[in-house]
Point group: C2
Chain length 138, copies 2
DNA sequence: ATTGACCTTCCCGTGACTGGAACCATTATC
DNA sequence: GATAATGGTTCCAGTCACGGGAAGGTCAAT
């Protein structure tokens, strides 16, 4: 298989597939003309990677998960802990976005949105400076 | 004011302040020794920027918002539209994260997390390839 | 005279790609 | 056989919003 077919069957851009090879996530063979020669197993790995990326795992997480996938002696606890950590990060991100959303929605609601210059959004920005970083918990 | 005082009073790292000057968001004067000489107005702008960044506005949005802030003839509708667009992006991001979260939480819940290799998380990754990109709406 | 704290610029690295240039290989068409 | 279209290759640069660190100048205090 050449890269285009793999790209279509994995729903990953060819650029991404080359990048994954560059960083060692896949190791397709080469044909005599220098073209990458993908096997079904490469395609399978790419689908795995695509799904993991879709769930928001970092490339490094993907590397770990692939290694676990290929390790018959893995413990599911290991996989689960990777997923749990990622889940925690997602939750933190959601909370942060919801906090932004709340403030922003309020400001947008308060803004007349007409041809006059008065604007509570700008007033907020001008008066509520950035928050002090919290003292890190020990 | 030198950069350290401004950094402390604005709660922005000195690196960030220099960066904001580099990209033209602020234009502090210079003392004879080459040090940046910040005025209160620079500090005010930095606080404005810090707050806008805290609400997730991009640097380009910040540039627009600052320009509107300084434009006495602005229309609040303009400010509001910038904020609404950003709000929409936040909502989209939240929805995407919640979708990930849902799938991931389910998988984590299903995974025994013990010393055996069987793992529904890896099974999902191996079998549910990446989604086809939706046909873009016209 | 020498610390030490502060300031400066400059360059590299981040994550996960994307775009584009320049060039080689294969296949189809005239 | 010449040409064009399509596909492949590598390499370089750019994205976003900074952060780290080196090399060196300035200032206040000891």
């Amino acid at each position: 298989m050449n890269i285009k077919e793999v790209s279509e069957r994995s729903n990953l851009p060819a650029k991404t597939i080359r990048y994954y090879e560059e960083i060692g996530l896949i190791r397709p063979k080469r044909a005599e003309n220098g073209y990458r020669a993908f096997r079904e197993s490469d395609l399978h790995k790419l689908a795995f990677l695509g799904r993991a990326r879709e769930l928001g795992f970092s490339i490094e997480d993907c590397r770990t998960l692939m290694a676990l996938y290929e390790d018959e002696t893995r413990e599911s606890a290991h996989v689960r802990s990777v997923a749990e950590e990622h889940l925690g990060a997602i939750d933190a991100k959601i909370a942060q976005l919801q906090s932004m959303r709340k403030t922003l929605a309020h400001l947008v609601h308060c803004c007349a949105g007409d041809n006059r210059p008065d604007c509570p959004i700008l007033e907020d920005l001008a008066t509520h400076g950035p928050a002090q970083p919290e003292q890190a918990a020990r």
